[in-house]
Symmetry: C2
Subunit: 337 residues, 2 copies
């Protein structure tokens, strides 16, 4: 049922399918190049909620609702839900998903959460631990700014290497292998990597080494090469981190420049939108994967994709205490049926 | 390999074993009734670290080190590590466990983390996703007070229903079925339950309904009765939550009063130690399970234990915004060989 390659690359022999997916985003994301791919765009990014944290919960909740409605699935038919987010104690997940009454395992992978929840969903369905599993996450620009940087009212200037936290959420429902649906061919569980970067305004650079390690390991473990994949898609390295990733991998003799892209670069039009180095946040990889990417695999435009979402495992407290920023990168290899 | 009972009670047919376990605690815990069961007691609860957050990382790190040393296991032989904690963005896990270079999936289950990480370890080994898995967590009184309540210097008075966050950590290493070792017979993934309790100084009451639901569901799903178990051990309901749990279950016709106990009541001597309603925090269930309980199962004093750790899925922000406190309870059913 499972074939292990190397230490943590896992081939899912039962090929669980992504049965349905949903992505909901805010105004800025809805004005970007993927605007026609999202299920819903809320031009009021607060989504009429009392607080930014509740808005983030709303995006998590509505991503899940889009996914189950599109798949004609009742929450009661979902055996397990994996979810997490960037808010302290992951409250956008718990409050956003409470009402659906689904067995729940909270995850913390920072911006890698979409890959982490999807890989666990894949492993659970592949191993017949669950028939149907949900992977959900979201982020919100305003709650992230308040928690990680400055309250919006402060009007702080952002550095050119800073990325913009995506307001949006994504959900993928995984079930038994189903013809015509994208399926999970393999996954890779990342190991934390810390090269000593301490600049919390340059997350891309902090996470790139973890991405390089996981992608290299996965390619070597599975005895494949970059050209086997239509797309090697990182989560949210943005411009700085993406360049660094390609350089780091080239140093190791692996050239991914031709087929690498990054969710943080895809979601905004950086010429027209003021987003500095690109998008970030759990909702970045989630809303791009659960719209444009899964749509493209489903419609045959992409056949074999490495989805490698990265996370920075720091907090404002650890940064204030002078700690560096450990990164992690989890991988889900998605294929067209 | 897996037998599913009900929606989320899972019987692990391959009976993965807990190969080794370790628990390290601070001064107060080391002066309590379990003092002879812990692997190490640090009478300087700061463990010579610069900050309380780094002390918490230290306890996480040293719990893991005790467990692998006692099991004569090298970190490289561990295929996957599940860990989480209560600090914002789970930094005591990431910084404490970074150096071991083990594939890592961060978890967020608040005080239920020991059960959540152990059930995932059990499922991964049972399903041959990993040969060896580590479940780790810790908490620290001083970092928790600062983050969730008041800085220690403030000298705030605590309410009688408040619990004391345990300074300590626990780690369990799970591997293939091994004669003479405690094994994981079954697990249950909890569902969030929110009965509207809003008092952040009464976590036991907030979590009791989730414990009642998970324990009832598990007992019904597996067609067992309370008297089949030597011990039904909740994580950290403390005095108030434990009473409430027994009442709630009695209302449903299930009497667990004779064999229920709680890690938060076991770890301190509430007559002599000023701990109000008992212990709490991820490190409470972790340090009690990974010392007294696993020792007792290993030595045959306990044969069949329900370990039901509870978590409160709130944050100071959600409480300040007037939200209630959702609870969750995950279960690991441990048996003597």
């Amino acid at each position: 049922m499972i074939q292990r390659h190397g230490r943590s690359s896992l081939e899912l022999i039962n090929r669980p399918s992504v049965l349905s997916w949903g992505a909901v985003v805010g105004k800025n994301e809805g004005e970007g190049p993927l605007k026609n791919e999202f299920d819903k765009i809320y031009y009021d990014s607060g989504a009429s909620q009392e607080t930014w944290e509740k808005s983030e919960s709303f995006f998590q909740q509505h991503a899940f609702m889009e996914a189950i409605e599109k798949g004609s699935i009742h929450p009661h038919d979902i055996d397990i839900m994996f979810s997490g987010d960037l808010l302290n104690q992951c409250i956008s997940s718990s409050f956003g998903l409470l009402e659906f009454n689904v067995p729940y395992l909270g995850q913390y992978g920072a911006c890698s959460t979409m890959a982490q929840t999807l890989l666990l969903s894949g492993l659970f369905v592949n191993g017949e631990i669950a028939d149907t599993a949900a992977a959900v996450t979201a982020s919100h620009f305003c709650s992230a700014e308040r928690q990680f940087r400055f309250p919006l009212e402060y009007g702080g200037q952002r550095t050119p290497t800073a990325q913009r936290t995506v307001t949006g959420g994504g959900c993928a429902i995984v079930g038994k292998h189903t013809e015509g649906k994208p399926y999970i061919n393999a996954v890779h569980v990342g190991t934390m990597v810390d090269l000593g970067i301490k600049d919390a305004n340059n997350m891309g650079a902090a996470m790139a080494p973890a991405a390089a390690r996981s992608i290299s390991d996965f390619i070597l473990d599975t005895d494949t090469k970059p050209s086997d994949y239509d797309l090697i898609l990182t989560g949210d390295l943005g411009e700085v981190g993406s360049k660094l990733l390609c350089e780091l991998m080239l140093n190791d003799g692996i050239d991914i420049r031709k087929n690498h892209n990054d969710c943080g670069l895809l979601i905004y039009d950086r010429e027209k939108q003021d987003v500095h180095a690109g998008g970030s946040g759990c909702g970045c990889a989630a809303s791009v994967l659960c719209s444009h990417i899964l749509n493209s695999i489903s419609e045959g435009r992409l056949k074999n994709v490495i989805f490698a979402a990265t996370g920075a495992l720091m907090s404002p407290t650890s940064s204030q205490q002078g700690d560096s920023i450990p990164g992690i990168c989890h991988i889900v290899n998605l294929k067209a049926e």
